[in-house]
């Protein structure tokens, strides 16, 4: 881990530890918890998109599958929540592994379309299998518990989600610095060149696809328990787009960028409600504007700006 990354990790720890003293009502806690969950999904997704260069427009499908696995197994089959979460994650891992090899052969727009199709099919199935999922109205989800401990207070939920996010960030930074991380960057640059240097590109891409899908599923399970409710919208195309937008807005190939992007795009809609009818117009315009001005995303863009000021001619 570089000095900059260690400093960033330290800063993240300080912010996460300080936040509970600043947040003063359950609503603020709720947003903070959602930020942590989205950030966790995005850090995983960013490994796939930003580092391995493989786009996915279907990760909301994995998120929703995790959530529904938790909902259905705990509600209808009386599974312990942690077991349901693990089963959901395992199921998603198997699904992601099975589809990874054929889908990840595709590149660019074709890969975007393939993953988009996968996500849309999952979302349609969640809508249509009414007996199992409750259909478009969604289903209630029993509260979470671990060995009898039931997080009920906002602070406890915050501790779980913030902890999960911190561990994910820390592991990701380590992964990027590892030989696997170097292999990923090599295959992002040129798959052919990476292959000739002995990198098994297919298995590396598969690994990240499965890992990011499992992270999404775990976050989906936690989200379902936290909100007590889940609907097929969590798995819809629109949610996949939100996740990818968080990654790209924060900055591809930047772990902290994914966190910043997730925070911004989770908080923005809450703030934008002041615009009422103009909400989606403002959101769309801001999205376009940011991507046009900072095509590499916020964090890499700002880092470059600071460097050019600090170490300028």
């Amino acid at each position: 881990m570089s000095a900059g990354q260690s400093a960033g990790l330290g800063l993240l720890a300080v912010i996460l530890a300080a936040l509970p003293f600043v947040l003063d009502n359950p609503y603020h806690f709720e947003i903070a918890i959602l930020v942590c969950l989205n950030a966790t999904v995005c850090v995983g997704l960013n490994l796939l998109i930003g580092y391995a260069g493989q786009i996915s427009l279907g990760h909301a499908g994995f998120f929703a599958l995790g959530g529904y696995a938790s909902a259905i197994l705990t509600l209808s089959y009386d599974w312990p929540p942690l077991g349901a979460l693990a089963a959901g994650a395992l199921g998603v891992a198997v699904l992601a592994h099975v589809v990874a090899r054929p889908i990840l052969q595709l590149k660019g727009h074709y890969l975007a379309m393939g993953t988009l199709g996968l996500g849309v099919i999952i979302s349609i199935a969640l809508n249509r299998e009414v007996e199992l999922t409750g259909g478009p109205d969604g289903t209630i989800v029993p509260p979470f518990s671990v060995l009898g401990w039931m997080p009920f207070e906002s602070l406890e939920w915050y501790a779980i989600t913030a902890g999960l996010m911190f561990v994910t960030v820390w592991l990701s930074l380590n992964l990027i610095g590892s030989p696997i991380g170097r292999a990923l960057r090599a295959l992002h640059g040129s798959e052919v060149a990476a292959e000739t240097l002995g990198v098994n590109t297919a298995s590396h891409k598969n690994l990240l696809f499965v890992a990011s899908a499992v992270l999404a599923a775990v976050c989906g399970s936690l989200y379902a328990h936290f909100s007590g409710f889940i609907t097929p919208t969590e798995g819809a195309f629109h949610h996949s787009i939100e996740l990818v937008t968080m990654v790209v807005l924060g900055g591809m190939a930047s772990v902290f960028g994914a966190v910043v992007g997730a925070a911004l795009l989770t908080i923005a809609p809450q703030v934008l409600t002041v615009f009422h009818d103009y909400e989606s117009i403002v959101f769309g315009a801001v999205l376009m504007g940011m991507m046009i001005v900072l095509p590499r995303g916020l964090v890499p863009g700002l880092v470059r700006l600071v460097q050019s000021v600090g170490f300028g001619r």
Partner: protein, 291 residues
């Protein structure tokens, strides 16, 4: 038995023609710029909604429909000038997100300027179905199919026989070489967005008497048009048409024989099957680009 099959085929070809028009828009823009325009469905919505509201304002059809198409053409040109041209050279995902931002913006604007309700237009022939060999076909469906064939023929003539069309083709093969022989590739890009806007709007107007329109109608139509373009092979106009028909007919047959609940999933199942077996689509060139 055969009457039912014929009925499904008729409705499949009708909706497939619409997917083909939307898919053609995707292909034309992709050829000119290598951009996938996720706001393509919004052109369809603008065509339908603008036509509905112009007619409601008392304009006769002959004036309202061309105006609705013109509006979508202008929006297409505006999108290219404001959002795509300044972002040249950005990565594939960045461009995808810019066009998604545009689609959110256009949907929000439509809800504000028009409304959030469902609307329809009167179809030709008063909506009385015509009987053909035991199946029935709406006069509007005949119009959809004939109009699509006419547009496709006109487009092929345009690309084959006009200098502008040839310039667009040349640009799609090699932008740098096109620039070297004196083609204004920036104008080609603008023209592509104008054409795609117009094609989308015509599709939107044609389908409104059969399928209704509303501010969010473009989301699914756009995604299915995208599948149509992909099934045929991105950038191949002929492929977009074939892809549209394949998706439309498969959808109608699924709804008829298997399950109407999973009708909307058909397009995506087909696209996955095609991509996995033939990664560049049925008629596509093998030039996958990386992020």
């Amino acid at each position: 038995m055969t009457a039912a099959l014929l009925q499904y085929l008729i409705s499949g070809v009708t909706i497939g023609a619409i997917y083909a028009l939307v898919g053609l828009g995707f292909s034309i823009i992709y050829n000119a710029s290598k951009v996938i325009n996720f706001a393509q469905g919004e052109f369809v919505m603008i065509g339908g909604m603008a036509a509905v509201f112009l007619v409601a304002d008392g304009l006769p059809m002959v004036a309202a429909l061309p105006l609705a198409v013109l509006l979508a053409v202008l929006v297409g040109i505006g999108l290219e000038r404001v959002a795509i041209a300044p972002a040249r050279g950005a990565s594939v995902v960045t461009l995808i997100i810019i066009t998604i931002g545009a689609s959110i913006l256009l949907r929000g604007t439509a809800q504000l300027v028009w409304d959030r309700n469902f609307h329809t237009l009167p179809g030709i022939g008063g909506g009385m179905p015509i009987e053909v060999l035991g199946a029935t076909i709406l006069p509007q469906a005949v119009l959809v199919i004939c109009a699509t064939m006419a547009i496709v023929a006109a487009l092929f003539w345009f690309f084959k026989a006009t200098r502008t069309g040839q310039a667009m083709l040349a640009t799609s093969y090699d932008p740098t070489a096109a620039l070297l022989v004196g083609i204004d590739t920036r104008r080609v890009l603008t023209l592509a967005f104008a054409l795609a806007g117009g094609l989308g709007a015509i599709a939107g107007i044609l389908i409104t008497p059969i399928g209704m329109t509303y501010a969010g109608v473009g989301v699914m139509l756009g995604l299915k048009g995208f599948s149509a373009a992909m099934v045929g092979g991105l950038g191949s106009p002929m492929g977009a048409i074939a892809g549209g028909l394949v998706v439309g007919i498969a959808e109608a047959l699924t709804a008829g024989y298997l399950s109407s609940a999973y009708k909307d999933a058909v397009a995506f199942v087909i696209i996955l099957l095609v991509l996995v077996t033939r990664p560049s689509g049925l008629f596509g060139r093998r030039d996958g680009i990386s992020l």
